[in-house]
Amino acid sequence: MWQVIGHTWAVDLLQRSLASQRLAHAYLITGPDHIGKTHLALEFAAALNCNGEEVPCHHCTPCRKTVQGTHPDVQVIEPEGARLKIDQIRRLQYDLALSPHEGRRRVCVISQFERATTEAANALLKTLEEPPRHVVLILTASDASLLLPTIVSRCQILPLRSVPTPIIEAALRERIAEEARVQLIAALAGGRVGWALQAIQEPALLEQRQDNARQMLQVLCHGRARRIQQAEMLATHEDVQGMLQTWQLCWRDVILLQHHCEELLANTDLYEELAQIATSSSPEQASTAWQSTRTMLDQLEKNVNARLALEVMFLSWPRVEVGVTDSV
């Protein structure tokens, strides 16, 4: 049984190619972060070396080793630091030239391939085109358009899409009992299964999000002077990006509330506060605020000065009186 949440079509496709023994030598799995790309790749790796009847069985030794990450023939390569480097690829090429150690195939999962340097990507071309007999390569990337076209054309592409919220909800219900939390996490996940599962295991993730949202509500209460002060303070926050993402989602919800689409709300636990913002600001203001948050997220990737960008963004947000206790 494939233990994959969602992505049924991709699982079907891989299963069929396994059953008919018509495997591609290289696969490229694309999709947003935390959607289950590497997980799907590892399930496939387990299926390739599984000894059970219904592959992957998750009971036999090869399956267990693959899941634990101790299978000698299954390698997962991740970027070293910020980039995936040519040395990693060279080392891999040597390992791939050897016959599999105990399984039927050597499987190599190279994750986040969009972070490979051009040299590393080019070095892989030859292997990707004509890997040794026993090898199956699985690349993952957030988007095929970020890779060299020469890489993409050598792989069978599996573009994964966001997993529908009901499926995530169903999966979460098997793991936690509280219905309110199930719905909140599923809504916040926005199709990212990996994030949802992580949120169950690490409550800190949700707490962090609540803190972030509270920061936003505070900013909205204040005038310009206090906002600039707060920008200075938040610029040194350890995860500015995560904070901005929360804010962007909050503004999205405000816009949805203004258009009476309560059922699409993601931050269900903040309903009252968001509703307050929605009624006391105009749709134009909310949309400008969403836009400026989005712009800042983009700029952050281009190494903008976080403090200045935060100031600009805060000044473009409307002033709203929200009933939150000021605890700065």
Binding site: P72, L96, S99, E102
Partner: protein, 376 residues
Amino acid sequence: MKISCLQENLSKGIAIVNRAVATRSTLPVLSNILLSTDESRLKLSATNLEIGINCWIGAKVEQEGATTVPARLLADLVNSLPAERVDMELITRTQTLNLKAGRFEANIKGIDAQEFPLILVPEEDMRVQIDPDVLRQMIDRVAFAAASDESRPVLTGVLADFSDDGLTLAAADGYRLSVCTTELEQAPEQPTSVIIPARALQELRRISGEQEEPVEMLVSSGRNQAYFHLKDIDLVSQLVEGTFPAYRQIMPTTFNTETIVSTADLLKAVRMAFIFARDASNIVRVQMVPGGENSGRMIISATSAEHGDNVSEIDATVEGKPIEIAFNARYLIDALDVMDTAQVSIQTRDASSPGTFKPVGGGDFVHIIMPMHIPR
């Protein structure tokens, strides 16, 4: 697991398997040695997924079992123990190995043996036996010529070709080629050729040091692994996938000059030339001047623009046309080092064709070196 054995044996066994312990690996268990009981012996195993070594040592087994412990730690500890009986007991609950020798006691934290990759004994497909001395000599003659650069994995391996003519080992790195053939007592059932990593053969050479009985070689049916069976030691090597270059085609068939020279004299002259050649891309010029029995000469020279030059002249038997050819001194030294006969024969055609080196009366061994371009 509860066993006792002698420190001496344990230390020796660890030294043998230690070389197969992985130094760079993503699997933590590979930097461990697997200790397991095998009837009345203790089996030590290590693997880096390329080479795996099993070594059996005599032990008194009180309770069967298996565990893995960090190789470095175990080796350092056992080597510093006194030469007496060592008692080992595994505490299963914590995967801790309790080790006692005389008044010394240690506890080593291990990893569950279940996590250790299997070193499989291949299904029998092709089996030959070979004399350990012959095997060692062949490895010495061939393995050094394999490429150390991993960018072309096939060239880091040694081609082992089993046929009715015997066993042929061949290795090449693009600049030199070594081919050595020996007859086998029993011809293999079917001709087989596989590429064995040079590193595995060098390890085999090392661990077969004290071996006197014939070494048994097996190639498994999936042709995944080569398996060498020695007394109390097994070495299993993964094979390199791919096609070895058709080396027979590049072996020169004709020559214009044949030089026969004393191996020791030539080696000495080349070593001397290398002192200067080091700064000049290792270029050593070799000039052959024809003449009959020891009336010919060989002139070896090297020039360094910065440090000066050197010329040595040695007696040789040279037949054919005079020639001047340049070689990489490093390659000449490597090749002459493994020529264990008094004289070596050098066949050359012209300054841009490879030179063929053969030991005179030293079996079926050919070493070919590409010449270097001499700047005029």
